[in-house]
């Protein structure tokens, strides 16, 4: 009698396994370009990448787009974070890593082990404007049409705790005709180490001069206001209370108000187009001298009209030759993948689905020159 109970529950579990077993797939069908048997059949197998969570939306779009041309591939991207992603890449467990930060000297050195004597290189693939967003919904200042104007130094003073009320004279001077509420400013920043924080802080460091007293780093440097994990956490915190101000991926802050920052003599609100304009004038970072590396140096003090200089540039890390890659399938995948990602089509897909700024022709040419060096035969 007793064993019956056990037997039955065991059978239940096993049957659950059996039901699931054959159905183990559930992939959503993709509209294939060439119908059945279309596309490039030469590339097949499973390929894994991991890294920056900022790139996840773009990667969803890229994987879907790439598989239309290469239906025999299965690609996964684990948004485990830049640090974990680069670690996994350096261990050889993934083919590419997404990273919000360029490789460090020691990481490049470490990569010799998995890149068969060569070194790994990082290529910019994804750039997105970072909005300085605020929630003044009760004052009617939220929404895509409202942009408070701020100087870089004003932003720096707010985020270092020296401007503490929305009706501060400095804000009133910059925004004539706007009635600012008498409301305490609650600064919201990231609580986790992040590329977004680093990009925002380097903007303040470069553009605000002495008004920004902290060094550049990936962790927020003070205990002001509130902090939250991830972009979603920051946006959620801002939505939940009036008088908050924070920085986040511009695509995520559409329901909030965003600051138009002073660039040259103009006030520029965040937009993918405006960020792309800064990318046009971006130069290669002279620090990253290793072969094939393309690290962009964003000019935060640009005076170019219509440019928006607060942005995150995210990189893909790959090898030109892979260890344990006899049939070169990894290298062939890496080449095809990166070619697609930086292609005009790939960039357009990312812009449409993740709200990113498309890379300029000049940057794409630089990146393609590196991608071409991946040895596939």
């Amino acid at each position: 009698m007793h064993s019956h109970v056990f037997g039955r529950s065991l059978a239940l579990f096993l049957s659950m396994g059996l039901v699931v077993g054959p159905a183990a797939c559930g992939d959503n069908t993709l509209p294939s370009k060439g119908g059945v048997g279309g596309g490039d059949q030469s590339l097949s197998g499973e390929f894994a990448g991991s890294g920056a969570s900022s790139q996840q939306s773009a990667n969803e779009a890229w994987i879907a787009g790439f598989r239309q041309d290469h239906p025999q591939t299965r690609i996964s991207y684990d948004p485990s974070g830049s640090g974990a992603g680069v670690n996994a890449f350096l261990n050889g467990s993934t083919i590419w890593a997404g990273s919000d930060a360029p490789l460090s000297k020691s990481q490049v050195k470490q990569s010799e082990a998995i890149c068969q004597g060569g070194t790994a290189f990082d290529l910019p693939v994804y750039a997105t404007p970072i909005a300085v967003a605020y929630n003044l919904g009760d004052a009617g200042l939220n929404g895509p049409d409202h942009h408070l104007k701020m100087e870089p130094s004003t932003i720096a003073r707010i985020f270092s705790g020296r401007i503490t009320n929305w009706n501060d004279p400095e804000l009133a001077r910059l925004n004539p005709g706007v009635t600012l509420p008498d409301l305490h400013i609650t600064v919201v920043h990231r609580s986790d180490k992040s590329g977004t924080t680093k990009s925002f802080v380097s903007y303040l460091h470069d553009a605000a001069g002495s008004a920004w007293p902290y060094p550049v780093g990936e962790n927020w440097p003070n205990d002001l206001g509130q902090s939250a994990k991830g972009t979603a956490g920051v946006v959620m915190t801002m939505t939940q209370a009036q008088g908050t101000i924070g920085y986040a991926d511009a695509a995520q802050t559409t329901s909030l108000g965003s600051v138009a920052v002073r660039v040259g003599t103009k006030w520029t609100p965040p937009s993918a187009k405006a960020a792309a304009r800064v990318l046009e004038s971006a130069r290669r970072d002279p620090e990253a001298r290793e072969p094939r590396r393309v690290v962009l140096d964003i000019d935060h003090t640009t005076g170019q009209p219509g440019a928006y200089p607060v942005m995150l540039v995210s990189y893909d890390v790959a090898c030109s030759v892979y260890r344990h890659d006899q049939d070169r399938s990894r290298a062939r995948f890496a080449k095809a993948w990166l070619t697609y990602v930086v292609s005009a089509e790939g960039q357009r897909q990312a812009a449409a689905n993740a709200g990113s700024a498309e890379l300029s022709e000049a940057v794409r040419a630089m990146v393609m020159a590196s991608v071409e060096t991946i040895e596939v035969d």
Binding site: D192, K193, G217
Partner: protein, 342 residues
């Protein structure tokens, strides 16, 4: 329920009756079977397996300690400059030494878990008493299920609920507390808006550990000697006096060890803290302000994704500290129960 009680009584009586019951078993039994070698061998193998499983548990704990130490090793030994750089990067320049880094985290962990226990304890004992002594028999079984349901809800769901539902609703209340009780340093304002403060997190953790404390204390209250309770009532004690005199003293050690279990659980809770708290890095005792404290567990989950190899070692080292703290708490709980029972 009643059957289990019955069986337990039987077992207890049997224990009394035949304390030496286990002595006359094995060898005579083996011989009486006609000296079958296979039976004896199976016996030995089974015995060996059972013992092995027990030892495996000791080994598992040893392995936990060993692998954590192994992985945390680079955080203690190695290039000092690189180490302090990693700590500075993890803490946003707030700390440069390991103890300087882990100190506020330990403080935050203990503060939040302690507060959660403080909030959960009276309610849990109340519910346990309600189930064991106040509710009608049929209702009380149903209520036990309800309490166990609370324990079954995954922490990530509590995190979602806390961050999206509780925080907006409780902001006003904490603001009121800060305005009226702000003269007590503990409740000094301005209260966080939204209320992603230590107080809110402790409240959610209290809800999470409530069922653990309740179910253990409930079982103990149900076992309080009936006779004394009835005697107390018969002598004219009110129900509460009966509980105070005949139930609570009986369950004292059990209540304490149950709360220690709850405390251990609160110390290690990750997701709810990660999703609700606005973390800070200080020793401040300001429950309603944001950005004052962070727990070790949530800090690991928060910083792990972006940590480089030295950073991972550091985070594992903080995990080791958390392991030691929970080890001590559980060990103390165990000591209290055995001492009271001896």
């Amino acid at each position: 329920m009643a059957d289990v009680d019955q069986a337990m009584k039987e077992a207890a009586m049997a224990k009394e009756a035949g304390a030496g019951r286990r002595t006359p078993d094995r060898d005579p039994a083996g011989q009486a079977q006609g000296g079958t070698h296979s039976g004896a061998r199976a016996d030995r193998i089974f015995r060996f397996c059972a013992r092995g499983a027990g030892i495996l548990i000791l080994l598992a704990l040893a392995a936990v300690t060993l692998f954590l130490i192994l992985k945390a090793f680079p955080a203690f030994i190695g290039d000092g400059g690189q180490r302090s750089k990693a700590i500075e990067s993890l803490s946003g320049g707030r700390a440069s030494g390991f103890w300087q880094y882990v100190g506020p985290l330990v403080f935050g962990t203990v503060l939040i878990a302690g507060l959660a226990l403080l909030m959960a304890f009276p309610v849990a004992v109340g519910i346990a008493l309600f189930i064991s002594h106040y509710a009608p028999a049929r209702l009380s079984t149903a209520l036990s299920y309800v309490v166990d349901l609370l324990a079954a809800i995954p922490s990530v769901v509590y995190g979602l609920w806390g961050a999206l539902v509780l925080v907006p609703h409780i902001t006003g209340f904490w603001g009121w507390v800060a305005r009226h009780l702000g003269w007590i340093p503990l409740f000094a304002g301005p209260a966080a808006a939204p209320a992603r403060s230590v107080a809110t997190v402790a409240l959610v953790l209290a809800v999470m550990i409530l069922p653990i404390i309740t179910s253990v204390t409930r079982d103990i209250f149900l076992q309080a000697p009936r006779l004394q309770q009835e005697a107390a009532l018969a002598l004219g004690a009110t129900k509460w006096e009966m509980i105070r005199l005949a139930v609570l003293p009986f369950g004292r050690s059990g209540i304490i060890s149950a709360s220690m279990l709850g405390l251990g659980r609160a110390l290690g809770e990750t997701m709810a803290v990660l999703m609700i708290l606005s973390p800070g890095f200080s020793y401040a005792l300001r429950l309603l302000r944001p950005s004052t404290s962070q727990t070790i567990a949530a800090n690991i989950a928060s910083q792990f994704p972006e940590a480089d190899s030295t950073g991972v070692a550091l985070l594992v080292a903080t995990g080791l500290v958390l392991f030691i703290i929970t080890f001590l708490v559980n060990y103390m709980a165990r000591r209290i129960t055995t001492k009271a029972g001896a």
